[in-house]
Symmetry: C2
């Protein structure tokens, strides 16, 4: 199995409402078909789809709430962390952690989207963010 994630699908309760939330963050939809919304994220895709359908399609039961996955959006400065957390707040997110110093020497805040999916917005000086937005770990 090669090392890649082609799509990240977020199960949501209301696809158009979730789409509108991500658009308020500044994102642009690439496709919207069959009640499924696709956003390009680098060489991968973030998808919004009904959470009930996703649970059934995945063959899993759903306890509701957060399920042990957090997405991180790294940026190039502390000021960008503050600006994005503020924009998310205005877009209707819940700020679950105000921007602050992190244990790894960075600066980050966390918001959850309208369905409780968690996004850390982080400036990590140890991880280089390339011009194309890809992340480079220290070794590589």
């Amino acid at each position: 199995m090669e090392q890649r994630v082609s799509l990240i699908t977020l199960g949501v309760s209301d696809v158009p409402a979730s789409r509108a939330f991500y658009e308020r963050l500044g994102w642009t939809v690439a496709m919207d078909v069959q009640e499924t919304v696709f956003f390009r994220i680098g060489g991968s895709v973030l998808t919004l789809w009904g959470r009930d359908k996703l649970a059934e399609d995945s063959g899993v039961s759903d306890n509701g709430g957060w399920g042990g996955i957090t997405l991180a959006h790294n940026v190039r400065s502390r000021e960008e962390v503050d600006a994005i957390i503020e924009r998310a707040n205005q877009a209707g997110a819940t700020i679950t952690r105000e921007p602050a110093e992190t244990f790894y020497g960075g600066y980050a805040g966390v918001f959850t989207d309208p369905d409780g999916h968690a996004w850390e917005v982080a400036h990590n000086p140890g991880f280089t963010l390339e011009d194309d937005g890809s992340l480079r770990l220290p070794e590589g």
Copy 2:
């Protein structure tokens, strides 16, 4: 907010056991520091970290179980879907959906890792998989 996911962090109950599972799938660790394991996935990173720590760090409460996110790993043929699902089974995954035709004209199966994180392994002839593993949507 630009469109990217820099890291996908999977909260797990036993980091070394989860690391060993992904290694049995054929993955190679890039970094293992402070009970945190990092795998390169294209221009992003998949991280394994203690689920309790991740919940606290994300400022969320944890109901346990699946939480509305499924990851997809797209491949170039139906045979690859079968092979990866079989390898995951041998590695200790739970096969939650045996490989079969999908509603979108593809072929896919789903497994969950030892912590219940869901991976769809899919051949979708409508989405081009580039040589570098990145996914190209029909429009672009």
